[in-house]
């Protein structure tokens, strides 16, 4: 579920492109340092087109409301957050699979969205961002009148 940092623009992913992304991601994480997945906890995202708006969803269990930041500019969506470790002093981990730390993902959306009309909600560890498409990006029906 957690992926290495990607800066590829968001497009419809056919399987070839998906494989290509995976190849390039593996290439990057293989080089440790810059792209180490230990430094950043990057949740997976789902984004879909709902006609008048774009919706983005991420599973962020354990993240508090004030630890998540969502910002929108033009056709860029940025999600930042941080999750603290749940262990207290004097305890030891016997198994540790849940990533903790900071993350940031910036995605390029297929259309511009109206930054004034973005709503983000967090419920049961699921972050949902609803972005109204910019007026210029909406298809407009043109009525044909007879001359």
């Amino acid at each position: 579920m957690f992926l290495a940092r990607r800066s590829f623009p968001v497009m419809r992913l056919d399987s070839f492109r998906r494989d290509l992304d995976r190849l390039l991601n593996d290439f990057r994480t293989g080089f440790g340092d810059l792209w180490s997945s230990d430094e950043h906890v990057l949740p997976a995202l789902n984004i879909w087109d709902d006609g008048q708006q774009l919706c983005a969803e991420a599973e962020v269990p354990g993240f508090k409301m004030d630890e998540i930041e969502v910002s929108v500019m033009g056709n860029q969506l940025t999600i930042k957050g941080r999750r603290e470790s749940s262990a207290e002093e004097g305890t030891t981990f016997h198994r540790r699979e849940r990533r903790t730390g900071e993350f940031m993902r910036t995605l390029t959306l297929p259309v511009d969205v109206d930054a004034e009309a973005v709503e983000a909600t967090l419920k049961d560890g699921v972050l949902t961002v609803v972005m109204a498409k910019a007026k210029a990006a909406l298809a407009r029906k043109i009525t044909v009148k007879s001359a």
């Binding site: 984004i47 709902d50 962020v60």
Partner: protein, 134 residues
């Protein structure tokens, strides 16, 4: 009592639990943390609430199941990016001796389930109630 070995080593013997209904089933990521009085099992189950969780403990086998309904109609949604699926979570653990099953309890908040396994000696089968924190 080496509770650590009890949880770690024996889990791999548990067979995969297969869903009987359609839809995907996922394995939640967990942390297992040992404190002085208890073992904590923390699982990420985003999208699930207290009423969606079943925790069963029988003959040393602890099974956690979280029912999660799909949030989007999968076949009709126009995905631009689709990196993960939504479905139930299920995972089993073999809990060794050294846990007082009578005193196990669990809570869930923000999609994170925390199961408390107090250390003791008796092993008994029972159901564990889950409370919601709000």
């Amino acid at each position: 009592m080496n509770t650590n070995a009890a949880i770690e080593k024996r889990e791999s013997r548990a067979p995969e639990v297969e869903p009987t209904h359609g839809g995907r089933s996922y394995i939640p990521t967990v942390d297992i943390i040992e404190g002085k009085q208890e073992l904590l099992l923390v699982a990420d189950v985003p999208g699930a609430q207290a009423g969606d969780i079943d925790i069963d403990y029988e003959r040393g086998r602890l099974t956690i199941q979280a029912r999660v309904q799909p949030r989007q109609p999968e076949d009709r949604t126009q995905y631009v990016l689709h990196e993960y699926g939504v479905g139930d979570f299920c995972r089993s653990f073999e809990v060794g001796e050294g846990i007082d099953s009578e005193k196990m309890h669990a809570e869930i908040a923000n999609g994170v389930l925390t199961l408390h396994l107090p250390k003791a000696t008796e092993l008994q089968p029972r159901r564990i109630a889950v409370t919601a924190i709000k």
